[in-house]
């Protein structure tokens, strides 16, 4: 814990990423310390989701140049599952459906993989049952979701809530929420936000990628960054989000051009 506090949790240096030969990120710099909540805002196509997905190691996103240190370790050299086992969690904008794969089985495999990585024993079925039950009630999610197949036939809102349940189960050190608020009605947004707030603590950090200021009414960020055309063009405190909401993204575009 002490060691982690010394170096930043995440340090992104001049990150350039392309998708299908088109460069999306053009030199992103960002430092995230434990205990912080960062919001990355930006218009459509600015590269917000690309940033979240390339940190998680999604294969289609190729890092052209730059460096990402996660607790001082080269994150980009790790396989996606190794990043996950080290505590990096991505809540997907569009969570995948896994037909026939029971949520219970999936979550247990994920939890056990992380425990094994940390040199811990796999959980017994009974232990896991209890653990799952606790988390389900902690994040206020319909217990039925954990009995079904992973995301299969879920509504958009159910999928997003299921992501928060997974996040609660895996207790990440760095949670990347990729437009988790999009497509949620006000009740779902509240449930999801409360889930995230409950999971916040001084040793973990949250990076929230969003188009709208709305979710920031529920999750107060320490820092707000504005991403335009693959670069962070402005950083500030929570009030920057309000300013953006008022003046719109065109205001930022005009300012930087």
């Amino acid at each position: 814990m002490v060691n982690q506090a010394i170096s930043p949790l995440l340090q992104i240096v001049d990150l350039c990423v392309s998708v299908e030969d088109q460069q999306i990120l053009k030199g992103v710099n960002l430092t995230v310390n434990a205990g912080e909540v960062h919001a990355i805002m930006g218009p459509n196509g600015s590269g917000k989701s690309t940033l979240a997905n390339s940190l998680a190691g999604r294969p289609e996103y190729s890092v052209v140049s730059g460096e990402v240190l996660y607790r001082g370790e080269d994150l980009l050299a790790l396989e996606p599952e190794d990043r996950a086992r080290r505590g990096l969690f991505l809540a997907f904008q569009y969570p995948m459906e896994l037909p026939g794969v029971r949520a219970w089985q999936f979550l247990k495999a994920a939890v056990d993989a992380k425990r094994q990585h940390n040199g811990e024993e796999e959980m017994s079925a009974r232990e896991f049952d209890q653990f799952l039950k606790d988390k389900v009630s902690q994040v206020d999610i319909d217990p039925e979701l954990s009995r079904r197949n992973v995301n299969e036939g879920f509504s958009g809102g159910e999928k997003k809530r299921n992501e928060i349940l997974q996040m609660a189960m895996l207790e990440p050190d760095l949670a990347l929420l990729d437009e988790t608020d999009s497509g949620l009605d006000i009740d779902a947004l509240r449930i999801v936000s409360e889930g995230v707030n409950k999971l916040r603590n001084p040793s973990n950090a949250v990076v929230l990628v969003t188009h709208y200021q709305r979710i920031l009414n529920y999750i107060t960020p320490d820092f707000v960054h504005v991403l335009v055309d693959g670069r962070i063009v402005r950083s500030g405190g929570a009030d920057l989000a309000h300013e953006l909401e008022e003046k719109g993204y065109d205001w930022i575009r005009e300012m930087v051009s």
């Binding site: 599952e81 997907f92 026939g100």
Partner: protein, 488 residues
Amino acid sequence: MSTQKIISRNTSSDDLASDYKWGFTIDIEEDAAPKGLNEDIVRLISAKKEEPEWLLEWRLKAFRHWMRQNFEEPSWAHLSHPVIDFQDIHYYAAPKTKEDGPKSLDEVDPELIEAFNKLGIPLDEQKKMTGVAVDAVLDSVSVATTYQDMLEKSGIIFCSMSEAVKNHPELVRKYLGSVVPYTDNFYASLNSAVFSDGSFAYIPKGVRCPIELMTYFRINAEESGQFERTLIVAEEASYVSYLEGCTAPMRKSTQLHAAVVELIALDDAEIKYSTLQNWFPGDKEGVGGVYNFVTKRGKAAGRNSKISWTQVETGSAITWKYPSVVLQGDNSVGEFYSVALVNNYQQADTGTKMIHIGKNTKSTIVAKGISAGKAENTYRGLVKINASANGAKNFTQCDSLLIGDQCGAHTVPYIEVKNPTAQMEHEATTSKVSDDQLFYCQQRGIGVEDAHYMIINGFCRGIFQELPFEFAMEASQLLKVSLEGTVG
């Protein structure tokens, strides 16, 4: 055309590289007839088994019918293999036992009991599997049947076919060949002429069989064809769940297996037939393995009767198999649930036939095919709705999963509808494990290989659910073993 003979390849060494863990051989004295097939061999088999005259006559008729087909095997399947030399096979091989056969398990060759122990099928009264009565068949001869006494109390007959011919000739005579006549197809004719043993089950009227009945088939002998015959009769309002497991040692030579299974369900009766087929698939280079040509058919003869086939096919070099249901009784139900997995050089052409004759008959087909390596997998299924089948319904779902770009996955449905009130629907998809699904699993910390197994298992879940619980676990395990090294 190749002149290579599949049965008599060099078998001198046993150094086949394979992960097939059921591949041990056992050293048991075998009583085998000379190679080749003629009327004398048919007579010999019948004599060895001390069969009544009518059965010998039936075998001879079948043999003559088979001979008339002039060694022309069916050629429509999407399969290719060297020509089988039917005169280079032993048509009778049996473990040598004491003169009159074992009267109790104490008299059974301990090597045999040990062989089944190794497979996890203890035959010993003290250790036998709970809730499952097992008929253990080695090289087409029934070795031992557990729980027989207990079953007898409820009037259930569960024994080897040979015993049934001796003790219940009237039942065997009435039903043998009534669903699969000896004229049915090339392999059914051959089986009818030379079948050696198999299982027989009879569930009397109104009886729900309290435990699962299981036959465990094991091929051991070399260069022998395997020809079991299974017959299950469910009288009115009875129920039985029957399981079938199959393994074989690793051999460089291929082995021919041509079995016939007949099921009869009378009014309100239900038969559930589950198979885990794990015959030796051949090694990674496609050497050896079992050629599996099987005719399985059930007749849902009675009103409201139901026949359900569930199969998990992971073994055999060649699989040619179409477990079918003739829906004769009004309101009868037929089901076919299948997972067929092929890897390396395996080839499978498997599916079902649902023949709707009775009114308001209903059939469901769910077939999942998985292809990996250089294997070829074909679903071939017929849904036939006769003019008499008012209100018949069929639903068919065929899904294929391809692993790698060297294999093939084919779907060949035949749909024949002669009744306007019938409703049938067929759906099929072909896909691979998607990169997005894999990444999602990886992002949750699950490794690529485990993620593959998880997704493939999910793909098969609907089928595994139809299996009795222990079998479902085993099936899932089999899938993993069969795919080792192909994913991730």
